[in-house]
C-alpha cells in the first residue's frame, strides 16, 4: 500500500524525458492491445455463439476465421456514410467520439500483468519502477465509474440527434437502464473497497495475492466478500454493457437497431467497436476486483511478470465466455422486469450486504465494539442483530410492494385477491 503523502509528492514532481517516453509507450501499447483484443473478442463471441446454436460461425477469412472482424471493418470503410436530413448534424457526428474515447480510457486502470505473488507487481521500464498498467492512479475505481458513465452520453446523444423515433426511444431506455444499474454496480463495488481499503487497483490486486482459507483456496475478493457482491456486480455490469439479456436498448423486434439505427458506415463501426471494447474492459475490471487480477502462483520457466499476464488472460477468457454464454442462453427481459430487478432486488441486496460486511469487519476489530470480551463473540452478536434487521427490512420492502399493488388495483376498480398459482 502506498503512502498518500508519497503519492502527493510523486504527483507534484516535474516531468522528465523518461516519464514522457513511458507514458507514450504505455499509451501506444494499450491502444494497439485494445484494438486487437476487440477484433479477437468479436470473433470469439461469434464463434462461441455459433457453437451454442449448432452452427460453425466465421471460418473463411484467415485461420479459423480469425480475420473476419478485420474484413468486416474494412468493408464498412467502403460503405456510404449517411447523415439523415432531420438529424442534428453536429451532435450526430460528435456522438461516436463520445462513445469511443471513454471506452478506450476505462482500460487505463486495469493492471494486466506483473508479479504480485513474490514481488510488489512492479517492473522496470525506462529506468523507473512501474506497474504494467496504463495509469496507476490513486482513484482507479472512481476513474472506472466515471468513464463508464461518460460512455452513456455517446449513446444518449446518438439517439437524440438522429431525429427519428426508434433511436430516440432506444437511447431513453439506455440512459434509464444505465442509471438504474449504476447504483447497484457502485454499491456492490463498495464491498470490495471495504476489504481492500483502497481505491487503487494495484492495491486491490496486491491484497488478493497469496493464499486464503486452508492454504489452497485463493484469497480472491469473490470469496472474501461472500459471492453476493460479485453476483450483483456481474448482473449490473451486463446491464451497463447493454448486453443480452439486458439489450433492450437495441431490441430489434421493437426498436429496429436501437440508438444506432440511423448510423451507417464507419460511424456504426465505431459504436460497435466501443461496445465490444467495453465488454472486454468490464471483464478485465471484474477479474481485477473479484478474481485477483494478474496475481497467481509462479511455476518458473517464464519471468514472474509474464505469469501475471498468463493468469490475467486465462481469468479474462473465462469471464468473457460467461458474457457470451449469457447471450446464447438467456431470453431478453421485459422492461418492467428489468426495472424491478434493478431497483427492488439488486440495490437493496447490495446495500444490505455492504452494511452487514461492514458491521462484521468493525466487530472483528479489537476495541471497536465491546459487547463481550472476545472478538469472535462480538462478531456473532453483530451477525445476529444484522440478521434481524435484514429480515425486518425485507418485510418492509415486501409490504411496500404489496401496498403499491393494492393502490393500483383500487384505482382500476378491482378488489385485491391473492394471485392464483397457475
Amino acid at each position: 500500500m502506498q503512502d498518500p503523502k508519497q503519492d502527493f509528492l510523486e504527483s507534484n514532481s516535474s516531468l522528465d524525458l523518461g516519464d514522457v517516453l513511458l507514458a507514450s509507450g504505455k499509451g501506444v501499447v494499450a491502444f494497439v492491445v485494445l484494438l486487437v483484443s476487440v477484433m479477437l473478442m468479436v470473433w470469439f463471441e461469434r464463434k462461441v455463439v455459433s457453437r451454442l446454436q449448432n452452427r460453425i460461425g466465421p471460418n473463411i477469412a484467415g485461420p479459423f476465421g480469425l480475420l473476419q472482424t478485420l474484413a468486416d471493418g474494412t468493408k464498412l470503410f467502403f460503405k456510404e456514410d449517411i447523415i439523415p436530413t432531420r438529424s442534428d448534424r453536429f451532435v450526430f457526428q460528435l456522438a461516436p467520439y463520445l462513445s469511443l474515447v471513454p471506452a478506450f480510457l476505462t482500460f487505463a486502470v486495469v493492471p494486466i500483468a506483473g508479479d504480485f505473488s513474490s514481488g510488489d507487481g512492479r517492473v522496470e521500464m525506462f529506468g523507473r519502477q512501474t506497474f504494467i498498467q496504463v495509469a496507476d492512479v490513486p482513484i482507479g475505481i472512481l476513474f472506472f465509474l466515471g468513464m463508464s458513465s461518460l460512455g452513456i452520453y455517446g449513446i444518449m446523444l446518438a439517439g437524440w440527434s438522429s431525429g427519428s423515433k426508434y433511436p430516440l426511444l432506444g437511447s431513453v431506455r439506455a440512459s434509464a437502464q444505465a442509471i438504474s444499474y449504476e447504483a447497484a454496480l457502485g454499491l456492490s463495488l463498495a464491498a470490495v473497497l471495504l476489504v481492500s481499503e483502497s481505491l487503487r487497483t494495484t492495491d486491490i490486486v496486491a491484497r488478493q495475492a497469496g493464499e486464503g482459507f486452508f492454504g489452497i483456496v485463493p484469497n480472491w475478493n469473490v470469496l472474501v466478500t461472500g459471492v453476493i457482491p460479485f453476483v450483483v456486480f456481474l448482473i449490473a455490469g451486463t446491464a451497463e454493457l447493454n448486453r443480452p439479456p439486458f439489450d433492450l436498448v437495441e431490441a430489434e423486434q421493437e426498436l429496429v437497431g436501437g440508438f444506432h439505427t440511423e448510423y451507417s458506415s464507419i460511424r456504426f463501426a465505431l459504436f460497435f467497436l466501443a461496445e465490444f471494447m467495453n465488454t472486454v474492459t468490464m471483464g478485465a475490471i471484474i477479474v481485477t476486483l473479484f478474481f485477483g487480477g494478474p496475481s497467481g502462483p509462479n511455476f518458473g520457466i517464464l519471468p514472474g511478470w509474464l505469469w501475471g499476464f498468463v493468469w490475467f488472460f486465462s481469468k479474462l477468457i473465462v469471464l468473457l465466455f460467461t458474457f457470451v454464454w449469457f447471450r446464447g442462453t438467456l431470453p431478453r427481459l421485459r422492461y418492467d422486469q428489468l426495472m424491478n430487478l434493478g431497483w427492488k432486488i439488486l440495490i437493496p441486496v447490495s446495500l444490505a450486504w455492504l452494511l452487514i460486511l461492514g458491521g462484521i469487519r468493525v466487530a472483528q476489530q479489537p476495541d471497536a465494539i465491546n459487547l463481550t470480551s472476545s472478538a469472535q463473540a462480538n462478531t456473532y452478536i453483530v451477525l445476529g442483530i444484522a440478521g434481524v434487521i435484514f429480515c425486518f427490512c425485507t418485510l418492509l420492502l415486501l409490504a411496500a410492494v404489496s401496498t403499491a399493488r393494492r393502490e393500483r388495483l383500487k384505482t382500476e376498480g378491482l378488489v385485491a385477491v391473492p394471485m392464483e398459482v397457475e
Partner: protein
C-alpha cells in the same frame, strides 16, 4: 500528475483513430444521396409523426432516485476505504444514513413510483378474459394512414366503386 499522462496519450490516440477513420471513409465511400435514403428510418413508410418531444415523467423520477442513491454511494466510498480508523462511530453514522435513505426508498415504492408495466391481476379479474371479448370486438382493421400517397389514391377509388367488405379485404395487400 505524471500518472495521468498515459491517459491523455490514450485519449489523443483514440480521438485521432476516430478522426482518421472518418477521413478514410470520406475518401473511400461512394456518395449517391437520394431523398429516401436520407429520410428517417421507418421500414419504407413515410413517417407520419414527429419523434416525441415529451417523455413519461417516470424517466425523470428514475433519474432523481438515481441521484439520491449516487449521493449515498459518494458517502459510502470514503467510509468503506477508511472504516478501520472510524470504528464503531463510522459504522453507526453510515447505518443511520442508510436507514434514512432506505426509509424514503420504501415510501417511494409504496407510492408506486417504481411500478412499471402492466398491473398483475388474478386470472378471474383479468378483463382480457371476459366473455364479451370476441374476435369481432377485439380485432381492429388497419387503416390507410402512413401509406404512400399513390396507394391511398388507388384505394379511395376502390372504396368509391365497390362495397365496404371488398375494400377491407383488398387493403392489406
Amino acid at each position: 500528475m505524471a500518472q495521468y499522462l498515459p491517459v491523455v496519450v490514450l485519449a489523443v490516440l483514440a480521438t485521432l483513430f476516430a478522426a482518421l477513420s472518418f477521413v478514410a471513409s470520406k475518401l473511400l465511400a461512394p456518395r449517391n444521396p437520394t431523398v429516401e435514403k436520407f429520410a428517417p428510418y421507418e421500414c419504407g413508410i413515410i413517417p407520419g409523426r414527429e419523434p416525441p418531444e415529451r417523455f413519461p415523467v417516470r424517466f425523470y423520477l428514475v433519474a432523481m432516485l438515481f441521484v439520491i442513491f449516487d449521493i449515498e454511494i459518494v458517502f459510502l466510498y470514503p467510509w468503506a476505504v477508511a472504516h478501520q480508523g472510524l470504528g464503531l462511530f463510522g459504522l453507526l453514522a453510515v447505518l443511520l444514513f442508510s436507514a434514512l435513505v432506505f426509509e424514503s426508498f420504501i415510501y417511494l415504492i409504496a407510492q408506486g413510483a417504481l411500478d412499471w408495466g402492466p398491473l398483475q391481476v388474478s386470472r378471474r379479474q383479468n378483463p382480457a378474459r371476459s366473455a364479451s371479448r370476441t374476435a369481432d370486438s377485439t380485432i381492429r382493421r388497419v387503416g390507410l394512414d402512413g401509406r404512400l400517397s399513390e396507394a391511398v389514391e388507388d384505394d379511395t377509388e376502390l372504396s368509391v366503386s365497390s362495397s365496404d367488405e371488398v375494400t377491407k379485404e383488398k387493403v392489406p395487400v
